[in-house]
Amino acid sequence: MRIVYLAVKYITVIGTFLQAFFEHLTCRAYEILIEDGRYLRQNEMCGHIEHEILRKRSTSFAMCFFPFLFNLLIGLVTVSVGSVNVYYLGEFFTSKGFPNFLNFLFLWVGISALTNLFPQWEDALTLKEQIYGKGKSNLFVKIIAAPIFGILYAGAYLQRYGLTLVTSIAFSFAVPYILSTFVPALYNLVK
C-alpha cells in the first residue's frame, strides 16, 4: 500500500509539492514548529511537513484546512480549463495541427492538485480529537465544523491509500457537465 501511496504521490508530484508548500506556509503563519521540512520524502510523509503535535484547535484546523483550500482553488481552476478543453471540446491539437500540450498540462496540474487536497491522517485525527474529543468543543462548534471536518477526514482516509487519484479523475470528467449547468447562464448575464 505504501508503494501505491508513493506512486500516486509521484505521479501527481506537482500537487504533492504544492500541498507540502502550503503546509509549510501554514506552519510559518501559525509559528508551528517544523521537525522536517523536506517536501518529497520516500515515506508516508511524502507531500507533508513533519511538525510538532498541535495542541490548539484553531492551529490544528488551519493546518488541515488552508493547504486544502489553496490546493482546491488551484485544482478547480486548472482542472476546469483542462477538462473543458480536453474532454468536452476535444482540443487535442491546435488549429495548426500541433499537439496542444498546454491543455494536458492544465489537466494534469488540476488532477494533481485535487489528488493532494487532504491533510495527513495524523493531523485529521488530531483535529477530530480537538473538535469531537470529550469536553473539547461545544455542540455549536461540533455542528458547524461537521461538513468540512467530514470532507477533510474522509479525504485524508482516502488519500492514505492513494484513492484520491481515482476521485479526482472522476471529478475531472464531471467538471464540464457541472460547469455547463451555470456557466451559460452566468455568461449570458454578464454579456
Binding site: I34, E91, F93
Partner: protein, 494 residues
C-alpha cells in the same frame, strides 16, 4: 641510641617525630627548589624567545594545542553538567526545553528557528509558477467561454432529443470556435454523429477533416468512423441505385421493368464499390471514409422505392421497409416514416413506430402525420382534423402537411370547400411546397370548383418541370373518385 630508647621510652619517640618532621620539611624544600629551578628555566627560555624569537613556532603550536584542548576540556565539563539525553535534538549543544515548554526537545534558539523554518528559493519559485499557471488558466478559460457556452446550448438540445436544433446549434458553436482558432474535435465528432442519426449524409466529411486521420483508429472516434463509413457506403449506394432506377422515375408504373430493376438492385448487395478518382484525391487531404461495399439498408430502401414507383401492393412495400428495420434498426431516419405510413395504411398499430420516431428525434413531425393518417384510414375524420388543428395551434413544424391531412379528411367527408381552404392554407404556409401538396391543392380546387386556382397550380407545376399526377387528371376526367384515390392503392395523392 637503643640503650637510650630502652632507658627512657618517651624521649626516643619525640626524637623520632622530630626527625620525620625534619625529613618532610627537607623534602618540601627540595621540591620548592626544583619548582623554582624549573620556573627559572621556563622564564629564561621565555626571555630568550622574546629576545631572538627562534622558537616562536613551537610556542604557537603549543598555543593552538592549548586552544584545541580547551573545548575538549570544557565539553567534558558540560557532559558532566548536562546529560546527553537532555541536550537539544537540533543543535546538540544546549539543554533542551524552552521557557514556554520545558519539555520541548529543542533549546530556545532552535525552537524559534524551527518555528520559522526557511523556504527554499526553488520551492518558492515553483509555487509561484503554479500560481501563474492558475491565472493563465483563467485567461485561457475566458477565451474558451463563448465557444463552451455555444456547445452547451447544442448539448442541451441533444439531451432533449431536439436533433434539428442541436445540429444548427453545433454549426453555430463551431463557427464561434473556429473564429477563436479552437480546434474542438469532440464538437466535430458530435456534429457528425447527430447529422448521421438524422440521415444527413452529405457534408459530414467536411467536419471530419478537422480530426487527424490516425485518431480515427482510437476508441473514442470509433462511432464517428463508423458513421462516416456508413455515410460513404450510403452515398455510393444512392449513386449506383439512381443509375438503375433514375431513368424510370417518370415512366408509367405499369411500364417499369420491376423484376429486372429489382434484380439489378439486388446485385448491389454483394457488389464491390469501384474506386473512383475523386475518392483517391480526397483521401490525400486527410481522413476520408472509403466505401468498399454498398449499404444494405440503402439497397433495400431503393427496392422499396421501386415497389412504390411501380405501385406494388402495400404489403410488398412493407416487406422491404421491415427488412430495412431488421438490417439496420438504428437507422430510424431511413425506415421510420415509411414504416409508420404503411402501418397506418394497412390498418396496423402505429403507436410503436411513432414512439420509435419520437425517441430518435423529438422534433420529427412524422409521428403526428402517421397518427393523422391512421385516424383517417379508420374513418375517424373528425378525430384526425382535431388532432391536426391542435398541433397547428401549437406551432408544429409540419403545419403545411397537417393542413393537407385536414383537407384530405374534408374531401372524404364531402366538404370540398373546406378541403380546398385547408389545403390552400397549407400551400400558403409552406415555404417550398412539395409536388404532393400542389397535386392535393389541384384536386381540392377541382372538387371545390375553383377552376382558377386549379389552373394556377397546374401552370406552377408545369413551369417547374412537373406534371399533374395521374390521380388528379383521372379525377378530372371522372375515371376516379375521391374515395377511390384516398382509400385504394397508396391511399393518398402522389
Amino acid at each position: 641510641m637503643d640503650e637510650h630508647k630502652e632507658k627512657d621510652g618517651a624521649l626516643p619517640e619525640a626524637e623520632q617525630s622530630a626527625s620525620e618532621s625534619q625529613a618532610l620539611h627537607d623534602e618540601l624544600e627540595d621540591l620548592a627548589k626544583v619548582f623554582q629551578e624549573e620556573l627559572d628555566r621556563a622564564k629564561t627560555q621565555a626571555r630568550e624567545v622574546a629576545e631572538n624569537g627562534v622558537e616562536e613556532p613551537e610556542i604557537l603550536i603549543q598555543g593552538l594545542e592549548d586552544i584545541a584542548e580547551r573545548p575538549a576540556h570544557r565539553e567534558s565539563v558540560s557532559e558532566e553538567r548536562v546529560p546527553k539525553e537532555e541536550l537539544c535534538e537540533c543543535c546538540g549543544e544546549r539543554r533542551r526545553g524552552t521557557v514556554n515548554n520545558p519539555n520541548s526537545l529543542y533549546c530556545d534558539e532552535c525552537d524559534a528557528g524551527l518555528r520559522h523554518y526557511p523556504f527554499d528559493w526553488l520551492n518558492v519559485l515553483i509555487a509561484l509558477a503554479a500560481v501563474c499557471l492558475v491565472f493563465f488558466g483563467g485567461y485561457v478559460f475566458a477565451t474558451h467561454t463563448e465557444g463552451f457556452v455555444a456547445v452547451c446550448k447544442a448539448e442541451e438540445y441533444r439531451r432533449e432529443n431536439q436533433k434539428y436544433s442541436a445540429l444548427d446549434a453545433y454549426a453555430e458553436a463551431l463557427t464561434v470556435l473556429e473564429s477563436n482558432k479552437i480546434n474542438a474535435e469532440n464538437v466535430y465528432k458530435r456534429e457528425i454523429l447527430v447529422a448521421s442519426s438524422l440521415g444527413i449524409v452529405a457534408g459530414i466529411e467536411e467536419p471530419a477533416q478537422h480530426i487527424q486521420a490516425w485518431e480515427m483508429s482510437l476508441p473514442h472516434f470509433y462511432k464517428v468512423k463508423r458513421a462516416l463509413q456508413s455515410g460513404a457506403e450510403f452515398t455510393e449506394t444512392v449513386t449506383a441505385a439512381e443509375e438503375i432506377i433514375g431513368p424510370y422515375k417518370t415512366t408509367a408504373p405499369e411500364k417499369i421493368p420491376y423484376d429486372d430493376l429489382l434484380a439489378r438492385l439486388e446485385a448491389l448487395k454483394t457488389a464491390a464499390v469501384p474506386e473512383s478518382e475523386d475518392t483517391q484525391s480526397a483521401r490525400k487531404k486527410g481522413y476520408q471514409a472509403k466505401a468498399e461495399k454498398y449499404s444494405l439498408s440503402g439497397v433495400l430502401f431503393y427496392q422499396y422505392y421501386l415497389a412504390l414507383m411501380s405501385e406494388r401492393d402495400l404489403e410488398v412495400q412493407l416487406g422491404f421497409v421491415e427488412e430495412i428495420r431488421e438490417t439496420a434498426p438504428e437507422e430510424v431516419w431511413l425506415y421510420g416514416h415509411f414504416l409508420g405510413d404503411l402501418y397506418a395504411k394497412t390498418g396496423r398499430d402505429v403507436e410503436p413506430v411513432c414512439k420509435l420516431l419520437e425517441e430518435a428525434n423529438a422534433e420529427d413531425g412524422s409521428p403526428l402525420l402517421i397518427r393523422a393518417t391512421a385516424l383517417r384510414m379508420q374513418k375517424d375524420y373528425d378525430g384526425a382534423i382535431a388532432l391536426c388543428e391542435e398541433q397547428i395551434a401549437k406551432g408544429s413544424d409540419v403545419s403545411d402537411d397537417l393542413y393537407r391531412q385536414i383537407g384530405l379528411c374534408y374531401l372524404l367527408k364531402g366538404e370540398y370547400e373546406a378541403a380546398y381552404t385547408a389545403v390552400n392554407n397549407g400551400f400558403q404556409s409552406s415555404n417550398n411546397p412539395s409536388v404532393q401538396m400542389c397535386n392535393t391543392l389541384a384536386l381540392t380546387a377541382l372538387a371545390a370548383g375553383q377552376a382558377g386556382a386549379y389552373g394556377e397550380v397546374k401552370s406552377l407545376l408545369e413551369n417547374s418541370g412537373f406534371t399533374l399526377s395521374a390521380e388528379v387528371t383521372q379525377y378530372q376526367s371522372g375515371a376516379l373518385t375521391v374515395e377511390q384515390i384516398l382509400t385504394e392503392g397508396d391511399c393518398d395523392i402522389s
